[in-house]
């Protein structure tokens, strides 16, 4: 067994949340630049220019890209040959989040009771943590500060198997059109197909973090991604919903085996500030 101290976990999570909230990755910046060149709407162009300028300011001054520094989502791949020592694993992650949000001047956006008191926990915790046990002796973290302007536009449909790829593409396009300007387009759309209702949404969320420019390795799924993206960008919604052809930057579909009777399709919407960071211990 390889021993990993909780303090290392805490420090890694903290480092990754700070990085994700200040720095948009270079591939996404390049894609925004490319979209700016190709956008034909004058308002759309000016919105994209502002977004690019904003991301440069945030990165160079190390301030939050967006004031909504999100609910802290953490995907963990925990090697089965790792032994965690000196404390509690979940608490270490939450402590990393607390320190990042406190020391990094990031907004604390978590309320304790979703319906009645809605009292801010003032620490941006608890984080939403998904842990998969995998082989090996490493711990891999993917952190995602998830803003709620876009999260609120997410949707789930329990489609019939007979609805097929056409039904799926139509559902994706319909949800993005309905969201219009609300989720801060140009968006990145994560789509999870299969599994169960809950599992589909988890893989949809993780799909948002896919490397820019990559499609699903299965050609049939990649074709659905391309078709949905084209239809969405033909909708005219455009940057900030003010008209143009840059409505989404990517449609990332992942899939899982599912039940003979179903075809769950989950859509998790992410704004242009698609913030995430990865690290390994």
């Amino acid at each position: 067994m390889r021993k990993v101290k909780v303090n290392q976990i805490k420090n890694k999570v903290k480092e990754l949340f700070l990085k994700a909230n200040y720095h948009i990755d270079q591939e996404l910046m390049s894609l925004l630049q490319k979209s700016l060149k190709e956008e034909t709407s004058p308002i759309g162009k000016s919105v994209l220019q502002m977004i690019i300028e904003n991301n440069k300011i945030a990165s160079s001054e190390e301030i939050a890209i967006c004031q909504d520094t999100g609910l802290a989502v953490v995907f963990v791949e925990l090697g089965q040959d790792v032994q965690i020592t000196d404390g509690d694993f979940t608490e270490a992650i939450n402590q990393g989040v607390r320190e990042a949000y406190q020391e990094g001047y990031l907004r604390k956006s978590v309320v304790d009771d979703p319906v009645f008191e809605r009292k801010n926990t003032k620490t941006n915790t608890p984080a939403v943590i998904y842990t998969d046990i995998v082989s090996g002796d490493k711990i891999k973290f993917l952190v995602m500060p998830k803003g709620f302007g876009s999260e609120n536009m997410s949707a789930l449909a329990m489609l019939k198997p007979a609805d097929g790829p056409e039904g799926i593409v139509n559902f994706i396009v319909e949800i993005v059109k309905k969201a219009g300007p609300n989720p801060c387009p140009p968006t990145i759309i994560g789509v999870g197909i299969g599994g169960t209702a809950d599992r589909a949404m988890v893989i949809a969320k993780k799909a948002i973090a896919r490397k820019i420019g990559k499609h699903n390795q299965n050609e049939k799924y990649a074709a659905m991604e391309k078709e949905a993206l084209e239809k969405i960008n033909n909708s005219g919604i455009g940057p900030a919903g003010l008209g143009g052809k840059t409505t989404s930057l990517a449609i990332n579909i992942d899939y899982l085996p599912t039940h003979i009777a179903g075809m769950p399709v989950a859509i998790n919407v992410c704004c242009h500030a698609a913030r995430h960071a990865e690290g390994i211990l």
């Binding site: 000016s46 300028e53 967006c66 004031q67 520094t69 003010l242 052809k245």
Partner: protein
């Protein structure tokens, strides 16, 4: 894009009438922040016929919950939040003289009707351009509901705050008129 128009707060009927959907504007003067929790409290006061902690006549409310300010900065990153969550509350404030709202995203039919009736304007700021927008916020102070943290009502002094008139006081709506031009 067209030349940017300068607007100063508080707004009078003339500046509201001259703000047309599609105008790029630069706002200078005091504006007030408010989002979900602050709106809920304001409307509770109105329903109890009690005085509001701010005089909203002629003012602009900015739907924002800023990030904390880094030392040396007057304000943290401060982009707009999605406006529709304030839709149930907005007509109450418009009826009491609120003249402008800054946010992002769609508004309800009721809000647009109330804007037409009360002569008010809905400005859009660019969602996610929070670090850039914060540069136009020169001063920030908490005016009410400090316990709400980022959701407290702040008073900002802004200089050349960049926004676009999305819905004007006649109900012209950029979200309805622009996207169809680029539909293929």
């Amino acid at each position: 894009m067209d030349q940017e128009k300068k607007i100063t707060t508080p707004l009078d009927d003339k500046s509201v009438r001259q703000s047309k959907a599609g105008d790029s504007v630069l706002i200078t003067g005091y504006i007030y922040t408010g989002r979900d929790a602050a709106h809920k409290r304001l409307i509770e006061l109105i329903e109890k016929h009690q005085e509001l902690p701010i005089d909203i006549k002629g003012q602009i409310v900015y739907y924002v919950g800023p990030a904390p300010a880094k030392p040396g900065y007057p304000c943290g990153s401060a982009g707009p939040t999605t406006s529709y969550r304030m839709d149930p509350y907005a007509p109450y404030l418009l009826d009491r003289g609120l003249k402008g709202m800054i946010g992002k995203g769609l508004r309800s039919k009721e809000v647009i009707e109330s804007m037409k009736k009360n002569k008010a304007v809905y400005f859009g700021a660019i969602g996610g351009a929070a670090a850039l927008i914060a540069r136009s916020i020169k001063k920030s102070e908490i005016i009410a509901y400090e316990d709400l943290g980022a959701e407290a009502i702040h008073r900002y002094y802004v200089e050349d705050f960049p926004a676009i008139v999305i819905i004007d006081c006649q109900g012209n709506n950029l979200y309805e008129t622009e996207p169809p031009k680029y539909k293929r």
